[in-house]
């Protein structure tokens, strides 16, 4: 038994037992606690099923918010136990048990005989893009099996990924807008499901085609994925070296090498690198101190899969090939079940349901407030009696202090008619 099976059996057993205990315990608080345990088990099963985002939402929303609300209401009402009354429907328990068991057996048989596992999803279609790195061609059209797929890709340009059915494709290039019949067939490319490939056209005069394997799977955190392709014909081989910030190399030192001795028409290993600004430079393969091209302003973006193509560009006057780079970057595909992937789906395909659910939550909040609001009690009809003062205040003071406070104040105070303010006071 693999670790996953053991985990499933243990967690599943705890989930079922906690659900049964929730049903059986007489105290509602115990039931709520068992239900929290059950929710935790389901969150763990979500983790096993590659749904980490939902697992955390489950714990935060269910085990956190909803169950706190339950416990709060139970304790507010003091409703841990209900009064035991005679059951109104005596036939209910046996009928419910029978029907539940029948349902359980029926669904289990249906599930076991339905061969759910035999249904497999179709793997995703392969992706293909084209990078134009052939200096002697202007913008080109790319034909796959005689059909125009990518139109007008200029020199040093990269097309977007095209989703194609898996299969074998004859790739032909033509000057942009030219007669499709004149396209030059260059190579045959095999595309299998789930793959992502980059076609690089390079070389002088008649271009050659190279296929670079792309890896679009997600990468963690601050990293980026980089492949270097050498399409530069001016040197036998190149290296990518790390220089100091001002693109110089201290004399007599061998610079740290990022990609070593890359032959023309070859792609480097795809490696995961730290993202951020880099002071890298292309140098000659045999002599890493002889810099060919400092990559000024090169910054590796995070979470991106990038192919960096080194090629040459004809200088207008001397017709000499000068090295230039063609970057072709594309975002990686978010991991299955990650917050990113769920968020993309929510905000692209499910915006309307998302908004409707938000409105529903708002309505529920208002409804809960309205329902629990205590109806304001009408004011009690108080009798409007004139308040009588039996002894004037001054005479009380005088009798207690033995000192006559004297004067007109000893007269009985006169009260006016009771006004509205007094009435509302008596109503409280």
């Amino acid at each position: 038994m693999s670790i996953e099976v053991i985990l499933f059996v243990v967690i599943g057993a705890v989930a079922v037992v906690s659900a049964v205990m929730m049903l059986l315990s007489q105290n509602a608080v115990h039931s709520a606690l068992f239900l929290i345990l059950n929710f935790f088990c389901i969150a763990l099963l979500f983790l096993l099923l590659e749904a980490p985002f939902l697992a955390l939402v489950q714990i935060a929303v269910y085990a956190g918010a909803i169950m706190v609300l339950f416990l709060f209401v139970i304790m507010l009402l003091g409703a841990e136990r209900v009064r035991q009354t005679t059951r109104r429907f005596k036939w209910m328990p046996p009928v419910v048990l029978t029907l539940s068991l029948a349902f359980l057996i029926a669904v289990s048989v249906a599930v076991l005989r339905g061969q759910i596992d035999s249904v497999q999803p179709a793997p995703p279609d392969p992706l293909l893009r084209f990078v134009h790195a052939a200096p002697d061609f202007d913008a080109v059209d790319v034909y796959l099996n005689g059909e125009l797929v990518m139109a007008g890709v200029g020199f040093r340009g990269a097309s977007d990924y095209e989703t194609l059915p898996a299969g074998s494709y004859n790739v032909a290039l033509n000057d942009a807008g030219d007669d499709p019949g004149a396209a030059i067939p260059l190579a045959t490319v095999e595309l299998e499901p789930g793959q992502a490939r980059t076609l690089v056209a390079y070389g002088e005069l008649l271009p050659a085609l190279a296929v670079v394997e792309d890896d679009l799977s997600s990468i963690s955190g601050r990293n980026t994925r980089l492949t270097v392709f050498n399409a530069f014909t001016g040197a036998p081989a190149v290296s990518l070296v790390e220089t100091r910030g001002d693109f110089t190399i201290p004399a007599g030192e061998t610079p740290p090498i990022v990609v070593e001795n890359l032959e023309q028409g070859a792609a480097s290993e795809t490696e995961i690198r730290e993202s951020g600004p880099k002071s890298w430079a292309f140098a000659e393969g045999e002599d890493p101190e002889a810099l060919l091209l400092p990559l000024r302003g090169l910054e590796l973006e995070r979470g991106v899969s990038q192919v960096l193509v080194l090629t040459g560009e004809r200088e207008a006057i001397t017709n000499v090939l000068l090295p230039v780079t063609v970057p072709a970057a594309s975002p990686t595909i978010a991991q299955f079940g990650s917050p990113t992937s769920i968020g993309q789906l929510l905000f692209i395909d499910y915006v309307l349901p998302f908004q409707m659910v938000a409105m529903l939550l708002l309505a529920a909040m208002i409804g809960a407030i309205v329902l629990t609001q205590r109806a304001e009690a009408p004011p009690k009809p108080g009798r409007l009696t004139r308040r009588r003062v039996s002894r004037p205040l001054t005479s009380v003071i005088a009798s207690q202090t033995g000192h006559d406070v004297h004067g007109q104040a000893s007269e009985r105070p006169r009260l006016g008619e009771p006004d509205a303010g007094e009435r509302s006071e008596s109503g409280d």
Partner: protein
């Protein structure tokens, strides 16, 4: 690799337990908790099928179910509080206001 069937069977068991809770318990709060259990069982099945199929739509649907469950709990508990104020009881056998 646990087969999808195992998850579905587990979710059916939890669902049936929730149904029994709804039908047999007489404490209204317990009935609500059983409804939550049923919703969770359905969620488990949805996630298992999403995993089987390799698509994320099932997980997005579970997200919606969780939000709907949250609003349902808010309204339901508010109703229970209101009923308790009126009747001093949340035994659902005693709540037969609509009985003719």
């Amino acid at each position: 690799m646990v087969q999808t069937e195992a998850y579905i069977i587990l979710s059916v068991v939890l669902f049936v337990l929730g149904t029994m809770g709804v039908l047999l318990r007489r404490n209204a709060i317990l009935v609500f908790m059983s409804v939550e259990l049923m919703l969770n069982a359905a969620n488990l099945a949805l996630v298992a099928f999403a995993h089987q199929w390799g698509g994320l739509d099932g997980q997005v649907f579970v997200f919606f179910v969780i939000t709907v469950a949250a609003s349902e709990v808010a309204i339901g508990l508010a109703l229970i509080v209101a009923i308790f104020r009126k009747r001093q009881s949340i035994n659902i056998d005693e709540l037969h206001l609509l009985e003719g």
